[in-house]
């Protein structure tokens, strides 16, 4: 349980909203922001139709003058949308100057937690900001369960690295759910150039989770074996031709790329599989009979299936 003392003196409802010039509000991803990759459309439609329901919460950056800047504590999405809708002023609650960074951060966290899901990048943002202000052990024990994450330091480290180490393209993929956490973890072990090159493939071709992991593994291995940087490998004509092939749909491209890389990574295995298929074809088995090797020819056993159909009378 989170200690009550963090929040017990903040009575937000008692702070009356005041009109703030939107150009005085810094809407870049600030110290309390935990929003990433959101679709502004529905919120813009809602505000256009019925106006702003909840006032954003701000912290003052200056000394209390008219020219002060404000940083968003809660309502980051609302401020962005209001600016897009060309509002010039909006009613906002401004926190007392003595409000600590931790209180600001927790206020935003607890306002958001019950009303929306966090994507993996947003979890990373929240946990990174918490870890800057609280002991790591406390973040692991008290806060990770709030996101349904296991209380492991290793998991905390992964989410923090998603926020701090991944490039925008990879983060966008993670936020959209188009890059699995397993793949993100593998990518984080690579250098930035390699990561960006791989993400270029993942952003244009839809690989499933397993294919993503396989693709990264094959590319990484081949780069080591052939002493060829990943960026060079992925620019080779064989691969780029598949990527740009207009006659293939996305799943076909993913399968073709995996097949190509696998044949290059496991040449003996792929040749043996081919030989096996050829051998079975030459047996000219009767219709309904099928011979399949056990997965990846690792056992000496084959399975023989015979499908007997009863003739219709």
């Amino acid at each position: 349980m989170i200690k009550v003392s963090y929040m017990d003196r903040l009575k937000i409802a008692d702070i009356l909203p005041q009109q703030i010039n939107l150009n005085q509000i810094d809407d870049s991803s600030g110290p309390y922001s935990m929003s990433y990759g959101f679709n502004p459309g529905p919120l813009a439609a809602s505000i256009s139709r019925i106006g702003l329901i909840n006032s954003p919460i701000l912290a003052r950056e200056g000394k209390g003058g008219a020219e002060d800047e404000f940083v968003v504590v809660s309502g980051f999405r609302r401020i962005r949308v209001l600016k897009k809708l060309n509002w010039t002023k909006a009613p906002c609650r401004v926190l007392p100057e003595a409000t600590s960074s931790l209180k600001c951060l927790l206020l935003n966290l607890y306002e958001n937690l019950p009303v929306r899901n966090f994507n993996a990048v947003e979890m990373g943002m929240a946990l990174t900001r918490l870890a800057e202000l609280l002991p790591k052990e406390e973040v692991v024990k008290d806060f990770m369960p709030l996101f349904d994450l296991p209380s492991h330091e290793e998991t905390l480290h992964l989410f923090m690295r998603i926020e701090t180490a991944l490039e925008t393209q990879a983060k966008d993929l993670v936020a959209r759910g188009s890059l699995s956490l397993q793949a993100a973890k593998l990518l984080l072990e690579m250098d930035s150039a390699a990561r960006q090159k791989i993400c270029r493939y993942f952003s244009t071709i839809k690989f499933n989770k397993n294919q993503q992991a396989q693709f990264i593994d094959f590319v990484n291995d081949l780069s080591h074996i052939e002493d060829n940087p990943i960026s060079g490998l992925l620019d080779e004509p064989d691969l780029t031709e598949i990527r740009h092939n207009e006659r293939m749909n996305s799943p076909q491209k993913a399968r073709a790329l995996i097949k190509l890389l696998r044949a290059r990574r496991l040449p003996h295995l792929v040749k043996t599989e081919k030989r096996f298929r050829h051998m079975v074809e030459n047996l000219a088995l009767p219709a309904g009979c099928q011979i399949t090797p056990l997965p990846i020819l690792k056992a000496p056993i084959i399975s023989l299936k015979s499908f007997l159909k009863r003739e219709k009378t």
């Binding site: 072990e189 291995d221 080591h224 074996i225 496991l266 295995l269 043996t272 020819l297 690792k298 056992a299």
Partner: protein
Amino acid sequence: MADFHIKRAIMEEGSEKNPMTRRIMGKLSHAPSDVSEASFKFQKPLDSKVGGNMGKDTLHLLSYKGEFLKPCPGTKEYICCDYQILNVATNCPLDCSYCILQSYFLNQPYLRIHVNLEENMARILATIDRDPQQIIRVGTGEFADSLALDPLTHWTDVLMRPFSKRKNAVLEFKTKTAQIEGLLASPYRDRIIVSWSLNSPLISTKEEKGAATLKQRLEAARRCQQEGFVVSFHFDPLIPHKGWREGYLKTIDLMDRYLDPGGIIWISMGSLRFMPDLKPIIRKRHPETSILDGEFITGLDGKARYFKPIRMELYGFMRQNLEQWHSDLGLYLCMESDEVWRKSMGWSPEKSRGLKRFLDDRVVKIFG
């Protein structure tokens, strides 16, 4: 003590009065410059901040709460030799790129010495004595190198006498070092096997950091043979690499130069295999390694292992050349299938039971 730099020792509360702890701390405090920085701390819980070396410069002295003697964790899908592991320590000061301990003990870093071994000896020996007809092959080299830390721990002192007095057990010290002083100082020889892990010169040099050179290992083995010890060898992991045939032949030539093959109780062979979680650890800790370049498939036990024809080629080649050197070396395969046994060794023990019988017969043949 060789090249292992122990910079720190952590004693678990209560273990400081243990004779082995006192012995180790005594050695460290009087050691020359390589251990002069040692700061002996009493701390609990264990400090989790370890660097990329997995805490290999820190000794963690603790009382082991589990069973000291346990069967080797083989899997039922492959033929296993039914070995018993005497768990005297976990982790190793050597840093072989392929070592499975990197993932086994990822969350238990440091060189962990089980200092309550002596007080558990009676229990260990009672287990061995329970069935005098049953031969028990015991080793200390599965979760640690058997001899690397012997100058500090004196495992040889503790273990050789009781094992040499038992007719139904053998104790195998498995190592990649040349730390044989403890062995040689002991008057006991019976039922003791000194064993070295061998590889090609290239793999030994590139992938077995901190280990003795092949020549040093074989010189130590020769010395042990001269001093009346039975020896054994393990070509595990065999790794196909550029020029592997010539490389492994060179090692066999060196064996021929240094050893009397008649005094070898067994030579095991196994190919590189690992659980998938080890791969990223190897990539991270040993970025220059080439051991992951081979063609791996996922085996029946979930481990990555070389595609079968590659494994059979490795074993077949080794068998042919080792048998050319000497026809009775007690060659066996570690964790392989009946089919691979037949195709590469020309026979198969069929089941784990059969392999146990084969190795037990070797014990009787060599030790009587």
